[in-house]
Structure formats: structure tokens, C-alpha cells
Symmetry: C2
Subunit: 210 residues, 2 copies
């Protein structure tokens, strides 16, 4: 009996941790899936989709806001993996065109998670979880500035804000039917390439993403 | 007695209506004041600031969202009156510079109402209440396009989205301390004048607003 009890003492916590990990994974998968379909999806909907009880869900995520935060973090990690494979070398204007096209795929696919996050989380938190994406944009802009492709008379942080806010605004326009989804990367690229041209210089022509 | 009762029948509803109007005005004034200080101001805070009971407030605005909607509408009416006095004639790039400077005054002063609205109302409703502002921007852009000052290869609605979203993004950047409030009109103008320059044309130099 002592032995049996020892086994329970050492194995049970490990089994519980594995259970908990599986539950958290199931809840996050369900949260991303449910919120992508409907930004107003409730905690009850998400628990049902994850096949866990509400008490279990609240054991891991105390509030709906906490759950949406975790779903947003997961989505942006996924985005970052896709951006990791995007070639941002070579001509900076062409690299920006490719980065916009890749980013738009994610923003378009997961725009309802962004909508849910905008309703539930402070704007600064949303910007905060984009930190790796911000760094990618920033390093491309810096390279373009050093080589003379982009203007140097605007603060870099403002140029990053311009990229992110146009991307998010395009998602709203597409959802409202003001622009067609497949037009968006072209519109954003054409706007940014002009916006980042120095006063007195000629705006480059946007070329379709390779 | 018959006469007295007649008087009550005809006067009392009028008096009640005048009372109701005064209450609604007091509630809206209080909502704009409270939300400008704190976008999380509660209905209880707003009722107290308006010196009305909670029941009275809920009699006029069924939910916090309805009250925030009304506060936003009032703020944008105020904005529209200021934009009405902004000279948008003459050189379109200079007119855009003046329109940005006037708009920024409002966005900066009332940015917490925008924050509250972004948390409580659908994005499309927020865009919807900007309809008169949208028309002002649009008619200036059209005039600039006809005269050759602004590019014609982007949809007008997307150019309007660019103006509004950069204005709102700048409010977030200013609140977060990423840009200085007094730099903002210059940054937005410099970005927009470039963004609206046609490919192959030279970006005009931004001039300070008169």
C-alpha cells in the first residue's frame, strides 16, 4: 500500500499537469476557431467547442478578456512564423510589398480575433503583443532608410504605426464591403510606398508581389 | 376644479417633456465630461455628475453602450461645427493641412470618448457617426483629384479610410507617449501628402498650417 500510495503521489501530479496542458491547448484551439467565426463568441460557446466544462475553462482563464488575450497571442505567434518565412531581403520596396502581402493573409484570416481583442483589451496591449511583428517592420524600414529607399524625416515609430493601422483599417473596410479582399494588399502597398517617399522625391510604382 | 384639471392635463406633459429634455442634456454633458477624463467611467459616475438618479438615466439610455453612442454623436456634431469653420478652399494640399490641424484638435481633446466607443460600439457604427466628417474629407479629396493635386489610382473610400485611421492611430500613439501631441498634425500631414501623390510624381513639401 505504501508503494501504491508513493506511485500516486509522484504520478498523479504529472498526470494532472498533462491533463491541464491538454485542456489549455483544446481551449485555445477552440477560442481561435470560435472567435474567428464570431468575435462575440461567449466563454460558454468556447468551453463547449473545447469539450471542457465552464469551471475547467475558468480555472485556466479567469475572464473572457484573459482568454481573448491568449487567443490573440497565439494568433500573432502563428503570424510571426509566417512572416519568418517571408523574404525581406533585397530591394526594400519589393520586400515591403512581400511583407504586406504575407501580413494581410493573417489579418484577413483572423480579423474577427482582432475585432474581439479591440472590444475587450486596451489598445496598448494589442500593440504590445505585436512586438515581434513591430520589430520586423521596423528593421525593414531602417534598412530602407539607410539605403535611401524610404524617407528619413518621419520618426520610425510613426512609420510602423502607419503600416499597422492601415492593415487593421483595411480589415474593417473589407469586412464592411468597402474594398474587395483581393485588392487590399495592392492598396496598402501603393499607399505605403508613396507615404514613405521623401518630399521632393518621385513616388515609385508599386509592383505586384512575387 | 374642471378648469384646474384641464390645466394639469395640458401643462403637465409639457412640463415633463421640458424636464426630460433638461435631464438628457445634463446626462450628455456629464457623459462627455466624465468619459473625456476616463473612458471607463461608469453609468453611476455619469448619473452622479449629471445630478440625476440612475433610474432617470436608464429611462433615457437603456445601456451604457447607448449612452456612449449618444456622447460620441454629440462629440462629432461639435467636431463638425469646428470643421465647418475650417477653410477648405484654395490649394488642396494646403486645405488638407488645415483640415488635419482642425480635426486633430478634436481627436486629441476627445480621444477618450473614442477609446470608450471603440470598446463598446461596433467599428461600423463609429465609422457611421463620422458620416459628415467623411463627406468633408471626400469632397476635398475629389477636388484635389480633379485639379491633379492628389492621385486618382486609389479608390476614394480607401483614401478617406487612410485619413481617418491615421488620425485615430495618432491619438493612440500620443496617449502612449510614442509621439508628442504637438508633432502630430505635422506627421499626419506629411504622411498623407506623400500617400496621396501619384506614382511617378514628386512628393510635395508639407507646409505648416496657417
Amino acid at each position: 500500500m505504501a508503494r501504491e500510495s508513493d506511485r500516486v503521489d509522484t504520478e498523479a501530479p504529472r498526470a494532472r499537469r498533462a491533463d491541464a496542458r491538454r485542456n489549455v491547448e483544446a481551449i485555445l484551439d477552440a477560442a481561435v476557431a470560435c472567435l474567428s467565426r464570431d468575435p462575440d463568441a461567449s466563454v460558454v460557446d468556447i468551453a463547449a467547442a473545447a469539450s471542457v466544462g465552464r469551471v475547467t475553462l475558468y480555472g485556466h482563464f479567469k475572464t473572457r478578456a484573459e482568454l481573448i488575450d491568449a487567443a490573440l497571442v497565439r494568433t500573432i505567434q502563428h503570424a510571426d512564423q509566417i512572416l519568418e518565412t517571408t523574404d525581406t531581403t533585397g530591394d526594400p520596396t519589393e520586400a515591403l510589398t512581400r511583407l504586406v502581402a504575407s501580413s494581410w493573409q493573417i489579418v484577413d484570416q483572423f480579423r474577427n480575433i482582432l475585432v474581439a481583442a479591440q472590444r475587450e483589451l486596451p489598445a496598448e496591449r494589442i500593440r504590445g503583443v505585436h512586438d515581434r511583428v513591430v520589430r520586423r517592420i521596423q528593421s525593414l524600414l531602417e534598412r530602407g532608410q539607410r539605403g535611401g529607399a524610404f524617407r528619413t524625416d518621419l520618426p520610425k515609430r510613426w512609420m510602423v504605426t502607419t503600416v499597422i493601422s492601415l492593415m487593421h483599417a483595411a480589415a474593417e473596410d473589407a469586412a464592411a464591403g468597402r474594398v474587395k479582399v483581393d485588392q487590399v494588399p495592392g492598396l496598402i502597398t501603393a499607399t505605403l510606398l508613396a507615404a514613405f517617399t521623401a518630399p521632393g522625391a518621385k513616388v515609385p510604382a508599386a509592383r505586384p508581389s512575387a
